[in-house]
C-alpha cells in the first residue's frame, strides 16, 4: 500500500477510525439544535437542512471550534502542553448553551478515555485537565497521536460533524437515506472551503451564533426529545 492522502498507511487507517460513525463517543445522540428547527418548521426538507449546515460552515461556531482544534494540534507539535488546558478552557467558555457544552464535554470524555486505552503515551497528555476535555481538543490529540496531518484532521473533523448532523436530519425530518447521501455530497465543496479557511485563519473568523444559540437554548424546552442537543 502506498501513501493515501500523503499519510503512512497506519495514519490513514487512524483517520478512518477517528471519523467513522462507529467511533464510540455517542455523536449520534446529538442534533445541535436541528431537532428544535424541525419541530418549529424551520427545517422541513433537504434544501432547508442544507442551508442550515452550509451557514454553520460559513459563519458558525463550528469553524472557530475547528480553529481551536488546529491551535491544540500546533501546541502538541511544538511541545507546548500547557496550551492544551488553556484552549480547553477557552472552548468550554465559548459554549454558550448548556446542551452544547455538555455535548462537547461528554464526547470529549468518551474520546479521551478511549485514547488512554489505545495509546500508551496518551495518559500523560490527558491527565492534567481540571475539567472535562472538549471533543475538538480530544480530536486534535487523537489526530496528533495517530500521526494524521493537521490539514487532513481538520477536513476529517468537519466531515464527521456533517455526517452526524445529516444522519440526525434524515431521522428527524425525515428524509430518505439516498437524500442524506446526496446532501453529504452537496456539502463537500462547503466543507473544503471551511477547512481552507480554518487552515489559513490568522486569529479570528467571522461569526454569528444567534440562530444556533436560540435553537439550542430552546431545545432544552422541547416537550419530546429524541436527541440530547
Amino acid at each position: 500500500m502506498s501513501t493515501p492522502l500523503g499519510l503512512p498507511p497506519i495514519a490513514f487507517f487512524s483517520l478512518l477510525q477517528l471519523v467513522s460513525s462507529a467511533l464510540p463517543v455517542g455523536a449520534y445522540s446529538y442534533s445541535e439544535g436541528i431537532e428544535t428547527l424541525v419541530q418549529t418548521g424551520q427545517i422541513t426538507n433537504l434544501e432547508t437542512l442544507e442551508h442550515w449546515l452550509t451557514q454553520e460552515l460559513r459563519s458558525g461556531a463550528l469553524r472557530v471550534e475547528t480553529l481551536v482544534l488546529r491551535r491544540v494540534y500546533e501546541a502538541l507539535t511544538a511541545g507546548q502542553l500547557d496550551h492544551l488546558i488553556t484552549w480547553n478552557h477557552w472552548l468550554s467558555a465559548f459554549r454558550e448553551t448548556e446542551e452544547l457544552r455538555e455535548q462537547s464535554w461528554q464526547m470529549g470524555r468518551s474520546l479521551t478515555r478511549l485514547l488512554s486505552e489505545l495509546y500508551p503515551q496518551a495518559p500523560e497528555l490527558l491527565d492534567p485537565a481540571g475539567e472535562p476535555w472538549n471533543f475538538a481538543v480530544g480530536f486534535a490529540i487523537a489526530a496528533y497521536l495517530g500521526e494524521i496531518d493537521l490539514e487532513v484532521a481538520i477536513a476529517g473533523y468537519l466531515y464527521s460533524w456533517a455526517s452526524n448532523l445529516v444522519t440526525a436530519g434524515v431521522r428527524l425530518i425525515p428524509l430518505g437515506q439516498t437524500q442524506g447521501q446526496k446532501l453529504l455530497m452537496n456539502l463537500a465543496p462547503v466543507l473544503a472551503a471551511a477547512a481552507d479557511t480554518v487552515m489559513q485563519a490568522e486569529e479570528r473568523l467571522p461569526l454569528c451564533t444567534w440562530g444556533m444559540a436560540i435553537a439550542s437554548m430552546q431545545h432544552e424546552t422541547l416537550y419530546s426529545r429524541l436527541f440530547r442537543s
Binding site: 419541530q39 465559548f94 437554548m217
Partner: protein, 303 residues
C-alpha cells in the same frame, strides 16, 4: 453634564485629563477611568478621570446609598471611523454600582476605517455591577470593534447587557456593508467563564439566514455571571418571557441557557424597546433572586 455646585457628599471632584481639549485628526481618543468604593452603608464614586468626548455625570442614589448609579455620556454626538474610546471601571470590594449611558451610541459609517471601544471592568470581592448601556446603532457602512473584559473576584457578580441595532432600520436602512466585531470575556477568579467573539459582516447571508439573524436588525445579549444558577431559575425566566414552549407558528426570538457560572439570554428582533423591555424583566428577576432588591429604572431611560 457635570454639575459644578458643591455637593454634601464625600465625592472627590471630577478630574479631567489635561490633553483633552481637542480631537486630533478629527478623531477622538476618549477615556473614562472610574472607581467605585464601598463605605459603611454606601458606595461612592471614588475616582473619576475623564477624557473627552467621554464623561460621567455626578452619581445619584435613587434607591438609597448602597447602590451608586452613574450615567456615562459621549459628548460628541456620535462615533466616527478612527475614534478610539476606552474605559476602565473598577469596583473595590463590596461596592455596588449601576452604570448606563445617557443616550444611544451612534456609530457613523462614512469613513471606511474602524472605530473602537475597549472596556475593562474589574469587580472586587463581594462587589456587584449592573452594566446597562443604552443601545448602539451601527449605521450602514460603519466598521465598529468593541471589546469588553470583565474580571470578577471571589463572590463578585456581573449583570450586563448589550443591545445593538444594525443600520437605521426605522428609515429602511439595511446593514449592507461594514462590520460589527464584539469580543467579550468574563473571568471569575482567573477562570474564563464566557467568551463571545462575534463578527457580523454587512451584506452577508448571516444577516438574513435563520441560522444567523433571520433578517432582524436588532440583537441583544444579557449575561449574569458570578454564581451558579439553578435549573428552576432558568425555568422561571422562561415563564417570565413566555418562552417555555415553542410552536411552529412562532419560533422563539429570545432564549436563555446556563453558563458555567450564571446564564446567558440572547434576543433577535425588530425593536430595541422590545429587547430592552424583555431584558428589564430578566434583570428584575435577577435582582429579586440574587440581590433581594426590587427594580429601579434609571430615569435617563424614560426620556
Amino acid at each position: 453634564m457635570l454639575d459644578a455646585s458643591p455637593q454634601p457628599s464625600l465625592q472627590p471632584p471630577l478630574e479631567t485629563f489635561p490633553e483633552n481639549a481637542a480631537p486630533t485628526d478629527r478623531t477622538w481618543h476618549g477615556h473614562l477611568d472610574l472607581e467605585f468604593s464601598h463605605r459603611p452603608g454606601e458606595t461612592i464614586l471614588s475616582r473619576s478621570l475623564v477624557k473627552a468626548p467621554l464623561k460621567v455625570q455626578r452619581p445619584f442614589y435613587p434607591e438609597g446609598k448602597v447602590v451608586c448609579h452613574s450615567i456615562m455620556l459621549h459628548t460628541a454626538g456620535g462615533v466616527v471611523g478612527g475614534d478610539r474610546l476606552s474605559s476602565h471601571i473598577q469596583l473595590q470590594p463590596q461596592a455596588q454600582a449601576l452604570l448606563t449611558t445617557a443616550a444611544a451610541t451612534k456609530i457613523y459609517g462614512d469613513k471606511g476605517i474602524p472605530a473602537s471601544q475597549t472596556i475593562h471592568i474589574q469587580v472586587g470581592a463581594g462587589a456587584s455591577i449592573e452594566w446597562l448601556p443604552q443601545e448602539t446603532i451601527v449605521f450602514d457602512g460603519a466598521l465598529y470593534h468593541q471589546s469588553l473584559k470583565v474580571e470578577l473576584a471571589e463572590g463578585a457578580r456581573w449583570l450586563g447587557w448589550d443591545i445593538l441595532r444594525l443600520g437605521r432600520s426605522a428609515r429602511g436602512e439595511r446593514f449592507s456593508k461594514g462590520e460589527w466585531r464584539s469580543h467579550t470575556e468574563i473571568w471569575q477568579q482567573g477562570r474564563l467563564i464566557w467568551v463571545d467573539p462575534q463578527w457580523l459582516q454587512g451584506g452577508d447571508d448571516m444577516l438574513e439566514s435563520g441560522h444567523g439573524l433571520a433578517g432582524c436588525p436588532v440583537i441583544g445579549s444579557l449575561a449574569f455571571v458570578g454564581e451558579e444558577v439553578s435549573e428552576e431559575f432558568i425555568v422561571s425566566i422562561r415563564n417570565l418571557l413566555d418562552i417555555d414552549s415553542v410552536s411552529v407558528s412562532s419560533p422563539a426570538q429570545i432564549a436563555v441557557s446556563r453558563l458555567m457560572s450564571g446564564f446567558l439570554c440572547r434576543y433577535r428582533g425588530h425593536s430595541t424597546s422590545e429587547c430592552r423591555q424583555k431584558m428589564i424583566q430578566v434583570w428584575q428577576r435577577v435582582r429579586q433572586v440574587y440581590g433581594e432588591r426590587s427594580l429601579c429604572l434609571p430615569r435617563v431611560w424614560q426620556r
